[in-house]
């Protein structure tokens, strides 16, 4: 018993060495994924078929295939093409780390854009009319009225997606990235103690999830301050 306690203690310390990598994967792909999602959203709501259709097709493809398969295609498949090896993207795509981030961005962008679209659809159309009646242009209405309200409406679903993204970073370990899961797998291979190691790993992810939930709760409170009645 004592032995497994010290094994868990040691391996948790080792796994936490990969937490920086997990955070990197999460934040970089979270932020760039959000940018991609906003571009896709604007294409979807542009009202122009030649923007809307490609965005829809993109979303369909990336939501319709497993993220692990996407990561494999990027990591194992793309280097077969010489023009990719010759392109400026090669330094990124040569490494597992780069491929994992690209895969997470492309995937998360597709999901988040639909989440944002849900928020936009939820905004009372009367507010846009009120903006029009005051003489605001379509762009001004979107920036000052639709977007801030849509962001508030989309937040609960978005926090869900970020939690999901955080856990998806574990897939990077399948293409040589040494994040927490990558380290855990190495330890298991050395110690043959899968229960202790993977359960400890699962608990670390749960703790991270807890903090993400709390942070989004705070953001929701802040962005939603106008929806609350005053306390008397």
């Amino acid at each position: 018993m004592n032995e497994s306690v010290s094994l868990i203690f040691d391996s948790v310390l080792q796994m936490l060495g990969g937490i920086g990598m997990t955070f990197q994967l999460m934040f970089v792909s979270g932020i760039l994924g959000l940018l991609l999602a906003i571009i896709l959203l604007l294409m979807r709501i542009s009202g122009k078929w030649y923007l809307n259709w490609p965005a829809q097709a993109y979303i369909y493809v990336f939501r319709g295939t497993p993220i692990l398969v996407q990561i494999f295609i990027i990591y194992y498949g793309l280097p077969q093409f010489e023009f990719i090896r010759d392109s400026i993207f090669w330094p990124i795509l040569r490494e597992g780390y780069g491929c994992a981030i690209v895969g997470l961005i492309l995937n998360s962008g597709a999901y988040v854009s639909e989440i944002l679209r849900g928020g936009v659809i939820g905004v009372n159309p009367g507010l846009g009319e009120a903006g029009s009646a005051l003489g605001l242009s379509a762009r001004q209405r979107f920036i000052h009225i639709t977007a801030p309200i849509a962001a508030r409406l989309a937040l609960p679903a978005y926090s869900n997606e970020i939690i999901s993204l955080m856990k998806s970073t574990a897939l990077a370990s399948t293409i040589t990235v040494m994040d927490m899961t990558g380290i855990a797998r190495t330890i298991v291979a050395e110690t043959y103690a899968p229960y202790e190691i993977f359960i400890s790993l699962a608990i670390i992810y749960m703790i991270l999830t807890f903090f993400i939930q709390k942070s989004f709760g705070r953001i929701e409170n802040f962005l939603g301050r106008y929806t609350k009645q005053l306390e008397i």
């Binding site: 009372n124 009120a130 009646a133 003489g135 605001l136 508030r152 106008y226 929806t227 005053l230």
Partner: protein, 248 residues
């Protein structure tokens, strides 16, 4: 009267929603300073009529000319017209994520490019006119319906419009709040604001309107001074409508 060019001219205006014809051959002229009340059963096209005036709906044929500018698909014309036409909605449509003050400043800043301090002064001036300056820093949800509608009126006035459109401004209000909104509207009328009000407040129509228009099934059936309108309606459709709204 003939010499003055009408401020709003609608000529043979028709509007379809799919197969449904919402407006049939509408001809209407409104002079500067005129106060007009439009009434009629629901689905008669009254809201569509005033929504066409600031192009929240686009008409399918005919001409709408506001102060010499014809409403076409050209955005510059639409923007020019909208900045002269204020509108108040049945459901207030205040921007929920902005304080009352910000609601009043937004379009001044973005459309009129008014400097911040100036915009704030104008906003406070109109909040005082609708008698709720103390609510400036609250969010719309913290105000009663009547207060929200007064803010909506103030918001439109901040743009110094030449004409105000009211689309059933009291229909979503609790009965005890209707009067505070009507009072603000009556004050506006007394100051000579050009107004077109879609409303069922017949007391307001009688005391404030220069002309009352009755619409039914997309047509203007009858228009007359309030005295004529209420005391000696001509068409059977208006007589029937009067009976229906006055019996309860």
């Amino acid at each position: 009267m003939n010499k003055i060019k009408p401020f709003i001219q609608m000529q043979n205006v028709e509007k379809f929603f799919g197969q449904f014809q919402a407006l049939k051959n509408i001809n209407l002229e409104v002079q500067k300073g005129e106060r007009i009340v439009v009434c009629g059963p629901s689905g008669s096209g009254k809201s569509t009529l005033i929504r066409c005036i600031n192009r929240l709906e686009s008409h399918n044929s005919g001409h709408i000319i506001i102060d010499g500018t014809e409403l076409t698909d050209q955005m510059e014309n639409i923007d020019a017209v909208r900045s002269e036409v204020g509108m108040v909605f049945q459901s207030f449509n205040l921007f929920p994520h902005m304080t009352i003050l910000k609601n009043l400043m937004l379009a001044q800043r973005l459309v009129r490019k008014t400097p911040k301090e100036e915009a704030k002064k104008i906003a406070m001036h109109y909040l005082e006119r609708v008698k709720i300056p103390e609510q400036a820093d609250k969010y719309p949800i913290h105000l009663s319906g009547g207060q929200q509608q007064r803010v909506a009126i103030a918001r439109a006035l901040c743009m110094k419009p030449a004409v105000m459109l009211f689309d059933e401004p009291t229909s979503a209000l609790d009965p005890e709040m209707i009067n505070e909104v009507l009072e603000v509207m009556t004050d506006l009328a007394k100051e000579g604001m050009t107004m077109i009000c879609v409303t069922h407040e017949m007391g307001f129509a009688r005391s404030v309107a220069d002309r009352v228009i009755f619409m039914d099934q997309g047509e203007i059936v009858e228009q007359a001074t309030p005295e004529e309108f209420f005391d000696s309606p001509k068409s059977n459709r208006l007589k029937l409508f009067m009976q229906q709204i006055l019996t309860h």
